[in-house]
Amino acid sequence: MLAAIRRFFEAREVLEVETPLLCRATGTDPQLDFFSSQFNFPPNQQTLFLQTSPEFAMKRLLAAGSGSIYQICKAFRNGEAGRYHNPEFTILEWYRVGYDLRQLMAEVAELLLQLLQPFHAALPTRQISYQQLFLDSTGLDPLIFSVEDYRVYAAANSLPEAVELCGDDHALWLDFIFSHRVQQMMEKDTIYLLHGYPAIQSSLARLNVDDPRISERFEVFINGVELGNGFYELADPVEQEARFDKEIAYRLSHGLPAVGKDDAFLHALNSGLPDCSGVAIGLDRLLIIALGSVSITEVLAFPLTCA
């Protein structure tokens, strides 16, 4: 699979790069828990982080004029272990300068079909907006937060605990209903390219210029398994810093481990990130799909329990 990925990008003249796994700064996303470690270098002692994704470093390369780049590397996420999660996993991440989201989604589909071809008959691809799929599956509009409708839906679909658990947190309701119902209702053996995520879940994506309720973000799913996430990348340093500040404040108020802003990354945005789209694919999960495995432990030689 790794050789096929490298051939794919070589043919498209995308440059393979390497960036540090051990970094001075890391992402501020409150939903991502990182590993930190101490760098002992007397008389100084410095906290370093195992990166949760190579995104910031790769964007610094883009800002420095690298052109389109890709990387296959490890990423680390603390507190994540389960059927589809191992705290250390393998990411394929790439950025296309000058691509918008549609062009990148098309390339993702092309790559997945090529990689899965030795294992599966060609899978059909379905491009649909987050809003449409949510509506089709549940009858609820994810962009309009009508807590009463959401409650009625939860009660009628044997998810009564959602009312207390989600309260009046719109994003939490969406995560809950999406992961408990919508994902399970996706058709089997189909590549889903789900775009137009709600702006409240924009992460590092730009907002849509015509409809600020949605963001230029997509995700790819096969058999209900989330394989990857892509953005039309946010390049505005002021907006980026504002999102950092918001997440850092959230971390502080919720007692999560503190983390600083990545100044080197903000500096790179300031000097100008070219218009580009980028995506990360979890390769361990892609192997699960390719081999029809039921758990990530089946596709890792040494999962956490025997690492």
């Binding site: 507190g79 272990a81 999660h85 605990e161 939490l172 999406f178 992961s179 408990h180 992460s203």
Partner: protein, 189 residues
């Protein structure tokens, strides 16, 4: 009682849910890449036996349930309660109809079974997987019948009724699988 974090959830863990003791059957970690982590859990309510699904926010804690299994000997029934004893300590427990439910039809006096206790009071009774009981009533079978035939109902000394092959007679001891309620074999005295 101890509390458990969702990270400690695993099959067999006993927790309190909606004021009832429950046992976790299966625990799945669910997390969108950019979203909240959940634990989706399949749980058996130990009082009603019903299996439900429930979701917790990862990192939340729940109260543990003081539920233990003990080997006990069935002593007798006084009509309202069924009395059991722990063989090595001679501690006695009385269980009501809800607790003994169907299990009692497989037990005769002196038999050993597993009692599940919640806060030291009987919650449920589980008979051994296989029991050997004497047939007290069944239609006479015909000579030459084999076990391949249709079978007939037979009442056992403990009160249970099972289907047995036609050649099995009153007074014989048979082995029964209590999980399925099916006849296994005759037992040579």
């Amino acid at each position: 009682m101890a509390t458990f974090s969702t990270n400690e959830f695993k099959g067999g863990l006993k927790i309190m849910l909606d004021n009832d003791p429950c046992s976790i059957i299966e625990n799945e970690f669910v997390k969108p890449g950019k979203g909240q982590a959940f634990n989706r859990v399949r749980i058996r309510n130990l009082k009603t036996g019903r299996v439900i699904e429930r979701t917790f926010k990862s990192g939340d804690t729940v109260e543990g349930a003081d539920v233990v299994d003990k080997e006990m000997q069935y002593l007798y029934s006084d009509g309202e309660f069924w009395h059991f004893m722990v063989p090595d300590t001679f501690e006695q427990y009385q269980a009501d109809k809800n607790a003994v439910s169907d299990a009692i039809k497989w037990l005769k006096e002196q038999d050993v079974c597993t009692m599940t206790l919640w806060n030291d009071s009987p919650l449920s009774v589980t008979p051994p997987n296989f029991v050997e009981l004497t047939i007290t009533e069944t239609d006479p079978g015909l000579k030459g019948d084999t076990s391949g035939g249709g079978g007939k109902p037979a009442t056992l000394e403990s009160g249970a009724v099972v289907r047995v092959p036609l050649f099995v007679q009153i007074g014989e001891v048979i082995k029964v699988d209590t999980r399925t309620g099916e006849y296994v074999s005759r037992v040579k005295e």
